[in-house]
Amino acid sequence: MIQAAVWFFGAVAAMATLLMIFQRNLVKSALLMLAALLATAALYLALSAQMLAVLQIILYAGAIMILFVVALTVMPCALRDRASRSVFLKVLGLAAAAVILTELLNVSGALKGFLRPVDFSETGTLPLARELFGRFAFQFELLSLVIITAIVAATALALHRRRA
């Protein structure tokens, strides 16, 4: 039963991701990415990782994707975006994609040896929180600096456009 759900949602996620890559329309491709994210959340749920599934939906599907979609819609330049004619850029893109793909395959190969099927278990939210706010509290708080930088940058950009 769990096996079937995992296969099904995995296939849906993979399919949606592929469709997203080959979709020309930016907003539609963002929506396909949403489908992929939701399928991944369902995958986590099937593996009884409830906390992970919820965070996946709240953070990625609910917040980040909305920002993507809004940014895509309100930016006129995003709608006018045309594929570049330059051959050099295309080759560069393909090369980058090849590098990322090989790296991913490498990592997944290493992971496969590392993973064992584990019995049905609840997610340990409390141990995770203890680690995050205990041992890694400093690193965790450092991470928020990144977000503040992003906020400051976004505000600066918005103000710049208003003055222009």
Partner: protein, 371 residues
């Protein structure tokens, strides 16, 4: 063969059957209540404006003071012309109402509408999805409803609809942050994110007589929650998303039942907000001083009750509280004027958000001091 299959999987079949029954019953009750709520909205507004309200729709001359109006509205929606703009994205244009409706309906699975009933020696929990993190799921699914607004505006390929959708998305995203933060204090106090556990925790007494409902622990959070929830629900005073007659909303190209689905989703959200307010802040199905065995009053007297009577009283209390809050939301809608958009955003980010954060801080300080 069938008997064998049943033998092997009896527990999961029983579970699935019970869940299916619960889903069917709850959906029917909610749909019926929503239909009545559309009538109640018009009747309440009529009462408040010294009018009579809808009272004409009749079957064989019996009008029952407008009771058939929801049915007439439904028939009207179904048979009106179904218009799709020529340049619209057909698939997404069709999908948008579903995006608005489905997450809202799915949310009811997490709300406990009673404790439990014993049926043939089988303990039937009165909640569809018993999950330890149901409050987070509520927040997650309510976030997905935003896509209905966005898709409705974008797929119509109409600039005014798109502007309306952008307005709606900005409003819903902003108020969702406040909505999530107001609930943190409750999670800290009750020490759980499961709605059923939260309701059970509210059965304790404060000072020996006061029911330990969330509103007595977190009064500020309740006001913030209700404000943010009305804004999330896109109703007056926060109805800039639609603004029926003056400012145009994301669904301006929608007609017939497609528009009906958006409207229906909004009315279902009223029930949802009422149920959440009840569950989180007003003890859910808890009746003051009513326990598993019957009433135990703080002045010492007791009134033992049958298990089924207790379950019926609790579910009835939940329904009564929900009806009260639905009525309250209708009254709010017809009392307050609409905000301007900058006022709406300022209220969210400059007033509600700092207050919600302050609430968390104070709750944490008090909890630490009490420890």
């Amino acid at each position: 063969m069938i008997a064998q299959f049943y033998q092997a999987h009896s527990d999961i079949l029983l579970f699935a059957g019970a869940a299916a029954v619960k889903v069917l019953v709850l959906l029917n009750v909610i749909m019926g209540f929503t239909a009545l709520l559309t009538l109640a909205e018009r009747k309440v507004s009529a009462l408040m404006q010294d009018r009579i309200g809808p009272n004409r729709a009749s079957v064989f001359g019996f009008a029952f003071d407008g009771l058939f109006h929801p049915v007439a509205d439904g028939i009207k929606m179904l048979v009106k012309e179904d218009f799709v703009p020529a340049k619209a994205e057909k698939l997404l244009f069709t999908l948008a109402p579903f995006f608005a409706l489905v997450p809202v309906l799915a949310l009811f699975a997490f709300i406990p509408f009673g404790d439990y009933v014993m049926v043939f020696g089988y303990q039937l929990d009165l909640q569809i999805a018993q999950m330890p993190l149901s409050l987070f799921f509520v927040l997650a699914f309510s976030g997905l409803a935003i896509y209905g607004v966005f898709l409705g505006g974008w797929a119509s390929k109409n600039n005014f609809a798109l502007l309306g959708a952008m307005r709606g998305v900005a409003q819903m995203v902003s108020y969702e942050v406040v909505l999530g933060l107001t609930l943190v204090g409750l999670m800290m106090i009750f020490g759980t994110a499961g709605l059923q556990d939260m309701v059970r925790a509210q059965g304790r007494l404060l000072f020996g007589f006061l029911p330990g409902w969330g509103v007595f622990y977190q009064p500020v959070a309740f006001v913030l929650f209700l404000t943010a929830a009305i804004a999330e629900n896109k109703r007056t005073p926060f109805d800039l998303v639609e603004g029926e007659s003056e400012i145009i909303g994301y669904f301006m190209e929608y007609s017939s039942m497609r528009f009906g689905a958006f409207m229906f989703a909004e009315f279902i959200e009223i029930i949802l907000v009422s149920m959440l307010a009840t569950t989180l802040f007003f003890g859910g199905w808890q009746v003051p001083w009513l326990y598993d065995t019957g009433f135990i009053f703080p002045w010492g007297s007791t009134l033992p009750l049958n298990h089924y009577l207790v379950a019926a009283l609790q579910t009835g209390a939940f329904a009564a509280k929900t009806v009260f809050f639905s009525w309250f939301l209708l009254v709010v809608r017809w009392t307050l004027p609409r905000f301007r958009f900058d006022q709406l955003m300022a209220l969210c980010w400059k007033v509600l958000l700092p207050l919600a954060l302050l609430n968390i801080l104070v709750t944490g300080a008090v909890l630490t001091a009490l420890k």
